[in-house]
């Protein structure tokens, strides 16, 4: 019946190639399978993959400095950090305009905080100076208004700077502002900067354009009707410091020419103080080169700084160097986390193995009752269990009281088993024990008792039979339990926090501290990334040494 003489590809009953019709059938099956797992896939993607990727990204991301202080960062390129001198006036001038905008968006404190991680003190410097920026601008405003009252009106500025031909400039300002504020700056602003004005009065136009975008989009006001920022007055003041601009104004006849000419005529009434001096007046630390070095170091968009920090190193202008000894904590914490996790895993094996063995060898009914005792901790809140340990372990706690009462421990020398590593190990071993017992139990359940009998009938003592025959077969359970317990304990946080004191805390406590207290998310992300890599590396080693096929959770 089969067409054995047929050459070429096999055909299905309908004449289409068999391969194609097979793959069509399979494709439908695959598609259905995919649909079935789609909800979980999406869930995992949203709640697991994306947060992890975002965390990895945060550990190197450093755009806040260059986004908030773009012109300053650019101007700072010219500065030689090793000169021992603070940067020149152009940098301070750029800083004024950047900070003014940032202060409007209340972003300057965030840059301050970011830089404060690297050099304590910068935060208050930024915050303090942010408050005096208005005063700096007002000096220009007052002087200009004194010279010509038309400077006071909103129409004057609008007419002076409105025009056309500077679309790309506007686009650039929008983009910079959007990056700084972290929100979209798209939309109609009812103002278009004039190319001529930009050429004549660059600083003024820049400041006014920023003001216009901000007013129209963020504050949703009409640009032409609003008094401009003090920064715009300062911009004009800066522009008028240039002899070239003064010269060009003489031949200028556009809108506001009279007022500009009046300003030029009375130029000596304008504040002559440099921005550097103004900043120094606000906070003399602005003259300190250390702050500027930090800013220059952390101005790129991406930084290795967080990672270096995580391993007790620091970035300096000269390169990477070790942190001062008093600030080195992370390596120590990583090592402590690893070795305490190992101790906890070991303790779980020692305590869990006999329990699992008994459970696996009892009649099913009794085993189930005992299994409930093993699982009972799972049904109690972690916090409650840990707090219970606190009650048990403290110096006036149950354990000490009993030991003193029994006379094992002298009343004056009560055991200190809390707020140190011992406390963490005791409490965490208890809490993680079920994660060891369950895989061990399910693996031991599958080892028939005849193996032990066989070994004994062959002449092995109880111990030899156990060690040579039973134990090797239970290793997959130990492996699975150990991986579970070790990885769980490496990332444990609540228990060390409550019973660990200072000697018993883990790296995760530090991560939590940076996430919720110091708000140094970059450092927290870097620490978390390192932790993740360590776990992956250990997993890889385990696979190499024991083989991941040898891990069984049951069956």
């Amino acid at each position: 019946m089969a067409d054995t003489t047929q050459s070429g590809p096999m055909l299905a009953a309908d004449g289409s190639p068999l391969k194609r019709s097979l793959s069509r059938t399979l494709r439908r099956q695959k598609l259905r399978a995919l649909l079935l797992i789609a909800p979980l896939l999406i869930f995992v993607l949203v709640t697991f993959i994306i947060p992890i990727v975002s965390m990895l990204f945060r550990s190197v991301e450093n755009q806040i400095v260059s986004h908030t202080l773009p012109q300053t960062v650019e101007a700072l390129q010219e500065w030689d950090p090793n000169s021992g001198e603070p940067p020149d006036e152009a940098v301070y001038q750029a800083l004024f305009f950047d900070m003014f905008k940032a202060a409007e968006a209340k972003r300057h404190t965030q840059v301050g905080n970011r830089l404060n991680y690297e050099q304590p003190g910068l935060s208050s410097m930024f915050r303090g100076t942010g408050r005096s920026l208005d005063d700096m601008g007002e000096e220009f405003e007052d002087a200009l208004v004194d010279i010509d009252p038309s400077f006071k009106t909103s129409e004057f500025w609008f007419e002076l700077l409105s025009g056309e031909g500077a679309d790309s400039f506007l686009k650039d300002r929008r983009a910079k502002l959007a990056a700084m504020a972290g929100e979209s700056m798209r939309g109609d602003i009812g103002f278009a900067p004039s190319a001529k004005a930009l050429e004549l009065l660059p600083a003024t136009t820049e400041a006014y354009t920023d003001f216009a975008i901000w007013t129209a989009i963020v504050e949703e006001d009409v640009v032409a009707e609003e008094r401009p920022w003090e920064a715009v007055y300062a911009g004009l003041g800066v522009d008028l410091r240039s002899a070239e601009v003064v010269q060009q104004i003489a031949s200028y006849d556009g809108p506001g020419a009279a007022a500009l000419k009046a300003a030029v005529a009375n130029i000596d009434q304008l504040p002559q103080e440099s921005f550097r001096d103004m900043f120094a007046e606000s906070d003399e630390d602005w003259l300190d080169t250390e702050g500027w070095r930090t800013m220059a170091l952390y101005s790129p968009d991406y930084t290795t700084g967080y990672f270096l920090n995580s391993v007790d190193l620091q970035k300096t202008i000269e390169g990477v160097e070790a942190r001062p000894e008093t600030q080195q904590i992370y390596i120590k914490l990583f090592i402590r986390t690893l070795y305490m996790s190992l101790i906890i895993t070991g303790a779980c094996i020692l305590l869990g193995y006999p329990v699992a063995w008994i459970l696996a060898n009892l009649p099913l009914r009794t085993a189930n009752v005992l299994m409930i005792l093993v699982l009972l901790p799972f049904w109690t809140s972690l916090l409650v269990r840990t707090s219970a340990w606190k009650v048990l372990l403290q110096q006036q706690g149950v354990i000490n009281e009993i030991l003193v009462w029994l006379g094992f421990v002298d009343d004056a020398n009560r055991l200190i088993i809390m707020n140190n590593a011992t406390g963490t190990i005791i409490a965490m071993t208890h809490i993680l024990l079920p994660f060891m017992i369950l895989p061990l139990y399910s693996v031991m359940k599958t080892i028939p008792p005849t193996y032990l009998r066989a070994a004994k009938s062959l002449g092995a003592t109880n111990w030899t039979a156990f060690w040579r025959v039973y134990f090797p077969q239970s290793v997959p359970g130990i492996g699975a339990g150990s991986i579970l317990v070790f990885i769980l304990s490496i990332g444990y946080y609540i228990t060390p926090e409550i019973v660990g004191g200072t000697d018993g805390v883990f790296i995760s406590n530090r991560i939590a501290y940076h996430i919720s207290s110091s708000l140094n998310w970059g450092l927290a992300a870097a620490l978390g990334t390192i932790l993740l890599l360590v776990v992956l590396a250990l997993y890889w080693c385990y696979d190499r040494i024991v083989g991941i096929d040898n891990v069984k959770l049951g069956g």
Partner: protein, 367 residues
Amino acid sequence: MLDSQSSDAFVAFERVQKSYDGEILVVKDLNLSIPKGEFLTMLGPSGSGKTTCLMMLAGFETATHGKILLDGVSINNIPPHKRGIGMVFQNYALFPHMTVAENLSFPLEVRKLGKSDREAKVKRALDMVQMGDFGGRRPAQLSGGQQQRIALARALVFEPELVLMDEPLGALDKQLREHMQFEITNLAHDLGITTVYVTHDQTEALTMSDRVAVFDDGRIQQIDAPDVLYESPKNSFVAQFIGENNTLVGTVKEIKGEIALVELDDGELIDCKPVNVSAVGDRTLVSIRPERVEFDKNRLKKGTHTIKAEVLEFIYMGDIFRTRLRVAGNDNFVIKSRNAPDQVRLTPGETIEIGWLPEDCRALDAP
């Protein structure tokens, strides 16, 4: 008599009792002696206590009462690993994490033999079961029959004088099982070891053993050579348990030496050999093997009682014919006849006269 028996026995159970829960005796008053070199099979339905006996001998269960002697020494308090008894388990119990050679080497290692000694013995044991090339494999890579051989080799490699086997062929298919039965018996006889074999398969028991002990209800019902067991069952349990068996129920009318006259419940009279009936008027279960029933009058002895039978079914089985009859109200009376050229094929509905030699018909205790 008991004592003289056990003094020259290699293995002896003396008044052994076993209870797991303190209420029910799983083994009731077991007395058994096994001479050196014998192949003894413990046969019985599940729950009859045969495996418990084996486990007591191996040392995995302790006797509640009585003594178990090995070579004249009580082993009640000797732990299993010091008894030096080889054992083959139902599911082989080959250690999955060791290679075949390591499995075989294990009993030698725990006996602290030198490496070269061990290797030589392992090789010899593997060759003995024709598995010489499989030393490096893991048990999981072997077929059921191969695993069986390895389990056997492992039980023999340390040269025990007594080997216990707990339904070792249960997991094999029929053909392999028959082949292995043959190999195990040969090996046991060649090596001259004493073997205690537990099975619930009567064919296995009959083909392999020097003697078979039939267990039921915690007691040995009969212990005899296979042919004796088959042909001369001592009670109705053994008769029904071993081989196929026709039974008729009746009352003893008369006992004259080697012949008893039994009146069946429908009034027919038959001649039987009285086995465990003693008095006239006893109720009895009469047992006749299907192949000993004769329906050709010419082949029956003169004067033999015959009874009427109605043919219900004729089954052609190739080597034999199997005919189901209704005899004295029993619808399951079966006769087997050889497929010979002159053999008569009975047709359903036909009524015939059947008879047998009085010694083939055994009057046993009524259940």
